[in-house]
Symmetry: C2
Subunit: 478 residues, 2 copies
């Protein structure tokens, strides 16, 4: 690979191999339905096919690209397959992939405004756009006291919300003093596991997380929350953080934000709303009811990388009072000081999340919003909900299966009426068939299958095939 | 943009626009020296050029790509310019960019082994390769009790190390109880600001971070560390974490790992080593002395995204005892349970860092290592050190400038002999010239300029021009 510039790829080679990679990706999407959705390899199989030692001398790019086919693809679970109905969609799209490519090509760091003003200002601008697009409260806009920032994931966003809450509750003065075991956080039993992870990371201690019981729709019970907060206060503890979920991971339950918000407001507790997957639905006016009460929230996040055609990572995290977040996370050493920061006229996003460095992630989001337009995004979101609702109706009309939870949007929780054993076997055989990929959860202590619609290219024919496969495998098990 | 598949980009369009973006990037690199390295825009200027509202209808991709030129580039600070000598290099390369593109195209999630076995196994394999490539202790390999994982940044890696240390020191039992104000962490006054950020996040409290004094080479003084630990113990506190730096941000100082490691070993304190930029130098046997004593470390990180031609984000974080890390961060809800995890035969990287979701980041690292080969990487690292050492000699021989700190590798700290005022002006004028970009720090309370060599395409001619520009601007100021 050596040439007059050492071992670097020449511009001509970059053009040549870049086209080859673009074509490889286009080809991949054209044949994606030919692969089993869930990778069928055994533990260690991929690793066993790799050379034990790194190469001393450079290899031809052609060989490396060829190995994508022979060594990597067998170990890939095809998240972009239209037959992927597991977890959450993580749906990518052409404009998002090309936005990510441009971000990698520019190779800039957006840790400070000064280190690339466009990286900061485009992010601020697009996140303000999204406040309007989802009809969120204007307090989340950067033009007021709040603002939005791209985080890698809702896990990190929830952690940052909790840190700001911890800071506000204790007035540590930039965390001068550590936790003292008295701070308490709240979420429902159905909240995402990242809340427990955040509580552990932030040093509150797992015992100071209260998982509040849910109602028969798997939504947090405000009366139980209020009671628990009262008990904790009496015990001398300091309730500091409540996380409500709009669209829980297990069943897409929507916690009652107005009631929870009022409890938090009255008790002076930080109110965070996690709408990781479902928030995207609010692009459509008819689904905006999911955010009723959001005006009471101190912070909010949703993930365009889950259901808005933007490849991972892209979580949009909003705070109503950016000062509290910045105060919590800011550290300013001499080597990061600069005139723009000192002027106070700019945002330095390094103070809005855990890492210091940051990619130009708003590019892909900007590309998606512009390429699809609001109407284009709505078209697909509505289509996904429609396909999921069709599936729910099919379950309801089936003698074999039953609905396990309300299905307000694109996630259907269902189960075979025959009990846990057959549902476990059914899931295993469906996934081993390679024809589609589902995951499971437990609801009311019973194994439940989850079918989540939202892959970019999922159409009616994939849903038909999914129903047929599920039906056939179930029949064979009975 | 609407077609029979809705508003999605067609495969044909993806091929077409993908090539256009690849060409755009190749063109960008060919003309990168024509831009001012540091963006010259004013706060708000980029944002002011963007439309206030998001588009209702989709736009042509050609228009979006055109806006990269007209709206975005003026606000870009060109980190990939061969005249970029600020902060750290963040050097990208053709194979890394194309690896990132493939990762975006596959769009898979590597949170669990099962969600894409290749994502986990390639990462484990390549991180084991790097242990050999840097001649690190074999305890950091996954084949023993340890292992490596890709994190977004050294900030996150240090936080994870601190969390594992906190867990080990208190034996909370998976953080059952929170922090109680007695845990203490240690680093030198020259350690990266992310250590302070981590201490705040983890709830130890800023007051429980001890910044230990340094010697005349800006390296941590082991005697001062030992004394402080002793004092804290006597005060009833619990020393739990020491971070040593191999190549500090300000001046590239190398803390004495053998002495610090022995202190930690004797006191039962977690010993973390942060070699974010400089670790890459250990690819070359002649620079491996920087890691002397690393055998005593509990954890270690370095960033291929700083100096190893791999675009951000890619920090390699190693632990000697992976059990302690996993125990700290693991939360296993029903919806993430699966056979492979329960078999114990696989790694689930979600338990190795803060976020749950993760990109296929090992692809770009694998591409870089294979395309360059070990010899190719060594060639360029040696060249960068040589260019930096030439610059240091030029400073030493100059009557205007002086060296401000030892320059062991690719970072030269220097200053004009005329004092802070002229150095501040000099820095400002250099950066406003657009010809090169330097940043500053303070050493011994004096403003110091930092020139860091490591951009992918920096050659002798760029160094000559840098010297000439610095000299001319200084002369004009005198």
């Amino acid at each position: 690979m050596s040439n007059e510039k050492g071992f670097h790829m020449t511009p001509e080679d970059f053009r040549h191999y870049g086209r080859a990679v673009v074509d490889w990706i286009a080809d991949y999407y054209e044949r994606i339905e030919s692969f089993p959705v869930l990778s069928q390899v055994q533990p260690g199989q991929i690793r066993g096919s790799l050379p034990p030692s790194p190469p001393l001398h450079g290899e031809a790019f052609e060989n490396i690209l060829q190995d994508m086919e022979t060594l990597i693809l067998p170990g890939v679970t095809h998240w972009q397959s239209p037959n992927f109905f597991a977890f959450f969609p993580a749906n990518a799209s052409g404009p998002a992939i090309l936005g990510e490519l441009l971000s990698a090509g520019l190779g800039i760091q957006g840790m400070l405004w000064a280190t690339s003003p466009a990286c900061t200002e485009l992010e601020t601008h697009v996140l303000d756009w999204l406040v309007d697009m989802l009809d969120l409260p204007s307090k989340f806009k950067s033009t007021g006291s709040g603002g939005g920032v791209i985080q890698d994931s809702a896990s990190s966003a929830s952690l940052c919300a909790l840190l700001a809450a911890r800071e506000r509750a204790t007035d540590f003065g930039s965390n001068q003093h550590g936790c003292d075991g008295r701070l308490v956080a709240y979420a429902s039993t159905q909240a995402h596991s990242s809340i427990e992870k955040a509580v552990k990371i932030a040093g509150l201690g797992r015992q100071n997380l209260r998982l509040i019981e849910v109602d028969n729709r798997f939504a947090l019970r405000p009366d139980a929350l209020a009671r628990q907060i009262e008990q904790d206060r009496h015990a001398g503890l300091i309730p500091c953080f409540v996380c409500a979920t709009v669209g829980t991971t297990s069943s897409n339950a929507i916690d009652p934000l107005p009631e929870i918000g009022r409890i938090c407001r009255n008790a002076g507790i930080w109110f965070h709303v996690d709408a990781a997957m479902s928030g995207t639905a609010a692009l459509c006016p008819e689904y905006r009811y999911i955010h009723a009460g959001i005006g009471l929230a101190d912070s909010y996040c949703f993930n365009p990388h889950k259901w808005m055609f933007t490849n991972f990572d892209c979580d949009c995290f909003y705070v109503a009072d950016r000062g509290s977040l910045i105060k919590t996370l800011s550290v300013l050493p001499e080597y990061l000081r600069n005139k723009a920061t000192e002027s106070g006229a700019v945002i330095d996003y390094r103070d809005w999340h855990i890492p210091l460095g940051r990619r130009f992630r708003s590019l892909k989001l900007w590309f998606v919003i512009r390429y699809y337009g609001i109407e284009g995004l709505r078209f697909h979101i509505r289509r996904h909900v429609e396909l999921a609702q069709d599936f729910a109706r099919w379950v309801e009309e089936s003698h074999r299966f039953e609905i396990a939870a309300p299905a307000p949007l694109n996630l259907v929780c269902f189960r075979h009426r025959g009990g846990d054993e057959i549902n476990r076997k059914l899931l295993d055989r469906i996934n081993r068939s390679g024809k589609l990929y589902l995951t499971h959860t437990t609801l009311n202590d019973r194994i439940t299958l989850r079918l989540c619609v939202g892959q970019t290219h999922t159409e009616e024919r994939h849903m038909q095939r999914a129903r047929k496969t599920i039906e056939e495998i179930a029949a064979a098990l009975e």
